[in-house]
Amino acid sequence: MKISLLLEMAADAAPDRVALVCNGQRWTYAELLDTARRAATLIRESGVKYVSLLDESSEAAVIALFGAAIAGVPYCPLNYRLADADLSALLGRISPALIVGDSKRVARIAAAQGHRACSREQFVALSREAAASSEDESSDEDASVAVQLFTSGTTAAPKAAILRHANLLGYILNSVEFAAAGEDEASLVVVPPYHIAGISALMSSIYAGRRIVLLPAFSPAEWLSLIEAEKVTNAFVVPTMLTRIIDAMEAGTRADISSLRAIAYGGGKMPLEVIRKALALFPSVDFTNAYGLTETSSTIALLGPEDHRTAFASDDPAVQARLGSLGKPLPSVEIEIRGEDGAVLPPHETGEIYVRGEQVSGEYREKSALNEQGWFATRDAGYMDEGGYLFLSGRADDVIVRGGENISPGEIEEVLLAHPAIADACACAVPSIEWGEAIGVAVVVKQGHDTPGETELKELIRGRLRSSRVPDIIAFLDALPYNEMGKLLRREVKAMLSG
């Protein structure tokens, strides 16, 4: 079975219901399926090895995703924000491809690679003219590749992560109830189409029967006004978006967002202060923190609305702390924390997060990263509390090894962020002749506050943690570098502090 099953089921059960709203245009489930089936013919006839998208979100992303699936060709959306040289290198790895979107750019930077490129409008128009493709009933279809995504490469060159139909179907079928959404429900999707959350949002909304409202480029004002105009009930945001929405509302941006019932967030660490503010600002909204990776077909753990309210209202520090956790594993996945020797660690001991389940691909174009028992080592460091709540400490590669002692950047950052004048903080390893690695921190001072002294910050860390956590270098920056998904670019901070 292939992921196109999701759209087939939705179109079978509610053909005339609105599935997608984008740039004022409305598409029903039946229209989307029909166009995807025609796109599959276009894709098959063009003889390409991949279907790619080099564009912001639009109906073309949905048609390309499912059209590629029906045609049996991997879908590989690319980050249009990449520099020419980086993008050209990625395009070279998926040649020949049918590329939907910025065809002029493809002609300019990848002319000799043998691609076929067309604009979003051309792709939709050509698809509509093509013959409807019949179902492809190849025997090994669930093992074939549905989606290939290049990892963002915050630590190294991009890897080609592959997700098979069985992985993505496993994720949706195990975590979403078919047609569970009422006809009034709508989900605002603002995550870029080349991100796993942008792909899973399309699939889970279609399977749930929840109308998708696409916002191609995020701004707080647009986000708020679309909620009002489309009576949006559900939304997913990355932490930086939520911060900007709160700032805009506090600065006086008004919209009627009374339709909003649930906000899910993920893609980066949510500062405790931001989620506390959001809970106070939207008391009737259900908040869900979702944790997942590209290699796991999106969410593997979540902190649900009840957990948020319980933690927000609790006097017990252990329960309060769960507001900063990733919640519990989905019922369909197993998660373990393991030490360097591979042994499973007891509660509160930090190790590497391992995950196993149908939705976990853990596979790259070059090789599978699953071990013999099917576990995927995420390279994320974390721990579990006695209640089974998962906490993220950072990337395993970001752990600072000072004189043989493992130090998680997160513990230092949390202490710094508790200082009333600090808006943002990043701790990372800097080279040290004495210790091998020492600690460097970059901090951002809140507007309207005086810059705290270095001694004051060092004493704060010494007092709250211990002397081995005290940084050697403190830099004050105007802002920390983030990618567009709100992921802190630690290697850039590290380069700055090491230079």
Binding site: M1, L5, E8, M9, D12, A13, D142, A166, L173, S175, V176, E177, F178, A179, A180, S187, V191, A197, S200, A201, S204, Y207, A208, R210, N234, F236, A262, A264, G266, D286, T288, A290, S298, T299, L302, G304, P305, L330, P331
Partner: protein
């Protein structure tokens, strides 16, 4: 034993299912064994197995060794060796993406 992920079609109605897991060798719909292809002419349905199926519901046998997902609804109902399968209760998760 039926292969997980395989698709079976009813001989008596429109019902189609996807196998999640199943240690039985055959599943009936409308009282008649299902197959990979639909017969050219529909087979008569056993009125004892005509309660219907619903798209998106999971069907399970009493000991949980067999679980199916209905991907297309029909008038027949599902059984193994004449024993009716029941709808599996879903535990809803909050939307996360």
């Amino acid at each position: 034993m039926l292969k997980p992920g395989s698709r079976l079609k009813s001989a008596t109605c429109d019902t189609e299912v996807m196998v999640i897991r199943c240690d039985a060798d055959a599943i009936e719909c409308g009282g008649v064994p299902m197959g990979e292809a639909r017969p050219a002419d529909p087979v008569a349905m056993d009125p004892a197995h005509a309660a219907g199926t619903l798209t998106g519901k999971r069907y399970i046998n009493s000991d949980g060794t067999c679980e199916l997902l209905c991907v297309k609804a029909g008038r027949g109902s599902l059984s193994i060796g004449g024993h009716a399968l029941a709808v599996k209760e879903a535990k809803p998760l909050p939307a996360s993406d």
